[in-house]
Amino acid sequence: MNTGASAAAVSMFALFVAITLGLSFYLGRRVRSAQGYFAAHGEVSWFVNGVAFAGDYLSAASFLGICGMIAFYGYDGFLYSIGYLAGWIVALFVVAEPVKRLGRYTLADALNSSFQSRGLKVAVGISTLVVSIFYLIPQMVGAGALVQPLLGLPHWAGVVLVGVTVVLIVVSAGMVSTTYVQFLKGALLVLFSAALALMLLARGLRTAEGGIDGHVFRRIGPVAPAALVDEISRQPGLAGAALVPRDEVWSAAGLERIRAADGTISVWRVRGLRDAEGGELVELRETQTVTRTADGIQSISGQTPAEGGRLRPVGHVEQLPDGRTQTGPLGLMSFLSTLQESVVVLWRKVDVREPDGTVTTVYYPVPTPGNQVLRPGEHPSFQGIRGDKLSDKLNFLSLMLALFCGTASLPHILIRYYTVRDEVSARRSTIVGIGSIGFFYILTLYLGLGAMTSGALDLTDTNMAAPLMARSMSEWLFAAISAIAFTTVLGTVSGLILASAGAVTHDLLPDLFGASLTDHEKIRVAKLASIVVGAIAIGLGMLFKNLNVTYLVGWAFSIAASANLPALVMLLFWQGTTRQGVIASVLVGMTSSLVWVLFSEDAYVHVFGLPKEAAPVPFSQPGIVTIPLSFATLVVVSWATRRGSPAPA
């Protein structure tokens, strides 16, 4: 909300998109066959492919979502980083080489190599489509969120822009150009993030009383409760001010309102403290408010938007260890240990609903000790691990399991194994991928914590934390990072669309409708499929624009892991697997996880706007139930079908 289009950002952005498109058209001219379109002729070098893995994998959710989560809640976002990276171990040690050995274009190829079953290809093709589309939604939503402040366009325009650009990339050249675009973007993302992290460490930490706009957030007290009114009227500008009589809805949210002599009302957060003798003290801290009625936004922190009312940028260190005011340059470890002993002001929000229908969103500062910032369990969806409820703990276990198993089941990651020559190259490119992705994920912790203390955070948009921190250093850097983030979305989306197009062309069309296609027709069908999937993604991106990006990604991982991983693993390690077993496991895993997600508390609240008590499933993340369920289905069905008929293979 506190950003606007800038000439540097717009031109940098245009340059990036132009280079990306130019590259795809240039490379696209060389594609001759279906093998070239879907698998880049199988001759991409392992190093390029490895970095392209990073390009594919470091999606909007990784870059924007994780940094934003760390910037607003501390350590918890890093749990995602750890889980996402750990998933690569499954990919490398279990899945990579067999997938390369067994398949040609798609995951269904690999699973079907010993069965030659139409039903199996169709089932896996459908699950590829479902997972890809689920994974596409957060990417599109992220793109819209990014374009809004960068180019000053509305959300839907961002979604359409991404959709159209990506379809152009994919249609022009398929896997060759997608791979090189991903290579370029993966490399740039890692390098620029490293540069940003270094600048951040060189800047060190310093104390402040507000954000980069120079506004000082006022504090009154701490004083004994009885002396509060006198203390208030001693503040500059508040002479003769009085507390507004207490009122249930405001007090319940821990807020006090002060009416100044001129009648303006400001909202303050109450904080109870103790003095050295254990006596009660009270402190008031200035908040920021957005007041809405049915007609829209009425005022922001007491001013109408027309009067210049807007939310101020936030994020500062209130207190450094040993009473210092700034640290100077810090090292990788000393940055963390200094923060551990500092006090950082984080912001939380609460909605106050008054009887007349007015809703005031109050953003209030919470001074938080560094040791709390750096421990797990501060984010609302992770708080459960500090409680005693088993279902909350299971929810966390379930998420970490889905992240671990999900990576190796994502279709757009799996198809990247078909772009290299052989298994050795598949292995090497995975190692390069793990190296670059791991390095990047370590950086996310520093970027997130840096954004937390940069004074540049936008309270209404967690996803913009990293780009806005870059802006607090230089406008040029902001433009570059935003452009890279945007191409990140482009890259991931094109990979996903290509995976879907491949599934339609190779798995669904020939086997569902019995159409046999020539090479040339295959490419044409795939391009058509890309356009259709792209259009679906644009539509969904607009529909789901209010959804939290990280939830969706977690769910996409759960669905991918439940549908695809059991089949892949059992096929590799259990001779008794039958074709019916694989089909059943894919369908059961996909449906059960999808249904679980749609009936979860999070979906009820954030998607359907229903009360969370109405949700029938006990916790939101399905993985811990549906992954074992899918395994069990495979074993039971395989066992039953083997006894009933001789082994089909």
Partner: protein
């Protein structure tokens, strides 16, 4: 050869699974333990996270180095 690589992969996988499992279980059932600051004033949550990321890369390199190339002899046979 393929079997040997696969066995190696599974051993390394088991090692990493134990490390990751330990992290997840510790976070779930003993979150307070993650607040301890054993080294250089940095807490266990961050250190363990870094170890997991570095270990992933280290094991990946080890695997790449020990795997038998399809066309040559096997450098890891003496293990």
């Amino acid at each position: 050869m393929v079997d040997r690589n696969r066995r190696l992969g599974l051993w390394l996988f088991a090692a990493y699974l134990a490390l990751y499992g330990g992290f997840v279980l510790l976070n779930t059932f003993r979150p307070a333990a993650m607040e301890a600051t054993p080294v250089a004033g940095v807490n266990l949550a961050v250190l363990y996270g870094f170890v997991l990321i570095l270990a992933a890369f280290a094991l990946a390199c080890l695997y790449g180095w020990l795997c038998v190339p399809p066309d040559k002899g096997s450098p890891g046979e003496d293990r």
